[in-house]
């Protein structure tokens, strides 16, 4: 049974206070809090293993390497991939940047990349850089009134020059879900690479790369209870085998000589140059196991319950509320208080111990769709409660000019 009270016991930060109030953490879209098992796993590495990986000359190093591979297996099973298809990066941003560098050799002037206005800066700027360097064309798929990406709208954009489609599974702002199966069906047997940014999806719903049939999929550990500085780049084996590394150095080479001749180890090792973020990769396994023990469907259900409740309460209690994504199922609610600058609301809520994000949420193209610059983003996770929502709603109701926090 999903027991939020018991879950909350596992998160040390939920016992802390901010501005003298118990912390209410509604900024899960930015990063998640960590359960004690994850914190403990980091500590365990430094107190019990401490050695580098890929050196099996002595026991400690052997067990370190084994622990990293154990996380790789856990990640693979979590997204229904093979362990060899999992590459560890420093995060989603590094994964997409790496992909852009590695895919460059397949691209030439006039080739087209399809994105959407939903995309995070991590899934736009690396492509902009290629656009400028190679003379590529970037196209944006038209969104429906509810902000969805439909196959009809995608089909209209695809031409013989389309080489890459790179889309978020869930937008970090709106929460819109794109339908990967439909997209991969649409582009079947065309020479188009389909990349999924799952940074906002992996923490909240089941990922199945076989069912999605995407070429690449990327996400970050820290948004799903794991440590910062660890990301995953999944690639279909045949795709990974066609790519050259984007980082060169130790641990990834097979042989090299003074003339510059070099050969690489196999996939995925050839894409993991240098000492990895060992402690955090190991602890990422604890995060995934924790999520699995609660159940992704139960987490989703809990978030949707909170979302329905907060929308209902905000509409009832806060007359000046404007909600931008009422129709979209997700863990986020995007809103403003009519006539008040978003950041003034966010810092006012800080004085109540409520952590909430204001701004453009790293998606600076979205205003083309939304028609508004800065908004407030409330994003739920498994440890949030209806009582926390009540505190938020009461605070917003009493907001006035929203400068209370400044004069406490």
């Amino acid at each position: 049974m999903f027991d939020v009270k018991r879950i909350r016991e596992d998160f040390p930060l939920l016992k802390t206070k901010m501005q003298g109030h118990p912390l209410i953490y509604f900024d899960n879209g930015a990063t998640s809090l960590k359960p004690q098992v994850v914190i403990q796993a980091i500590n365990d590495y430094y107190t019990k293993l401490g050695s580098n990986s890929h050196r099996a000359d002595y026991d400690l190093s052997y067990y370190t390497s084994e622990a990293i591979e154990a996380t790789r297996k856990e990640v693979a099973s979590f997204i229904n991939a093979r362990p060899e298809e999992i590459i560890f990066t420093s995060g989603t941003t590094a994964a997409i940047n790496g992909l852009a560098i590695m895919l460059k050799k397949f691209l030439k002037k006039g080739d087209e990349i399809i994105l959407s206005y939903h995309e995070h800066a991590a899934n736009t700027l690396p492509w902009f850089a290629l656009q400028q360097e190679l003379g590529l064309v970037i196209k944006y798929v038209e969104l429906t009134k509810n902000g969805e990406i439909t196959t009809d709208n995608l089909r209209r954009l695809i031409t013989k020059q389309t080489r890459i489609i790179s889309l978020a599974l869930i937008s970090n702002v709106m929460g819109v879900v794109s339908k990967p199966q439909k997209i991969s069906n649409l582009i079947k047997d065309q020479n188009i690479i389909y990349i999924i940014d799952a940074a906002q999806a992996a923490p909240h719903e089941k990922i199945d790369v076989k069912a999605f049939d995407c070429d690449f999929l990327v996400f970050s550990a820290h948004k799903m209870l794991g440590p910062t500085g660890v990301g995953v780049l999944y690639g279909k084996m045949e795709q990974l085998e066609s790519l050259d590394p984007y980082l060169y150095g130790g641990s990834m080479n097979d042989k090299y000589d003074k003339t510059g001749k070099m050969s690489y180890l196999n996939v995925p090792t050839k894409f993991e140059a240098g000492t990895p973020n060992i402690s955090n990769i190991i602890a990422f396994k604890a995060a995934i196991m924790y999520l699995k023990s609660i159940g992704m469907e139960q987490i989703r259900e809990h978030e949707l319950m909170l979302r329905e409740y907060v929308i209902q309460q905000l509409i009832k209690e806060v007359p000046k509320i404007i909600i931008y994504n009422k129709e979209i199922e997700s863990n986020t609610v995007i809103f403003n208080i009519d006539g008040v600058f978003a950041q003034d609301v966010a810092t006012y809520l800080n004085s109540y111990g409520i952590a909430i994000r204001s701004g453009e949420h790293c998606a600076k193209l979205l205003h083309y769709y939304l028609g508004v610059g800065s908004t407030l983003r409330l994003s739920f996770y498994l440890y949030n409660t209806k009582e926390e929502v009540d505190v938020l709603v009461a605070a917003l109701k009493a907001g006035g000019d929203f400068l209370d926090g400044f004069f406490k």
Partner: protein, 147 residues
Amino acid sequence: MVFSNDVLRQIIVSHYSAPAFKKAIDDPTFLKIHLSSQNCIDDFNLYLKVDNNVIKEAYFSGVGCAISTASIDIMCQMITGQSYEYAKKLIDEFHKMMREESFDQAFLEEAIAFINTSKQPSRIKCATIGWDGLSVLINKDQSDKKE
């Protein structure tokens, strides 16, 4: 001199809701700097008309939160007609107030409306964004003139 929070609040609200020095300037004889921050949505320009190290006119344009907008408006009001030397002393005293060090209250006039900022550390950048821009503009202008 001790002001009540209500008075300080009124100062901020009035400068935010009706800023007197908000005006976009399209005149190359003005010094200009763009002010933005990684942490917030503030997006301002600050314009100075300077003659012989005296700030003859000061304006700003753009959008930001109540704290940053009110702070820049008050700053423009206080530096208009003042020398670089005077403006630099204002900047120093304002930063002392931000750091909770002792400062010259009377000298800061309406700018003491921001005395509570240090209790909300996430707002220090809001209160100082205009003053920091002013400091950069003055320093740059002075070093340009030396060359």
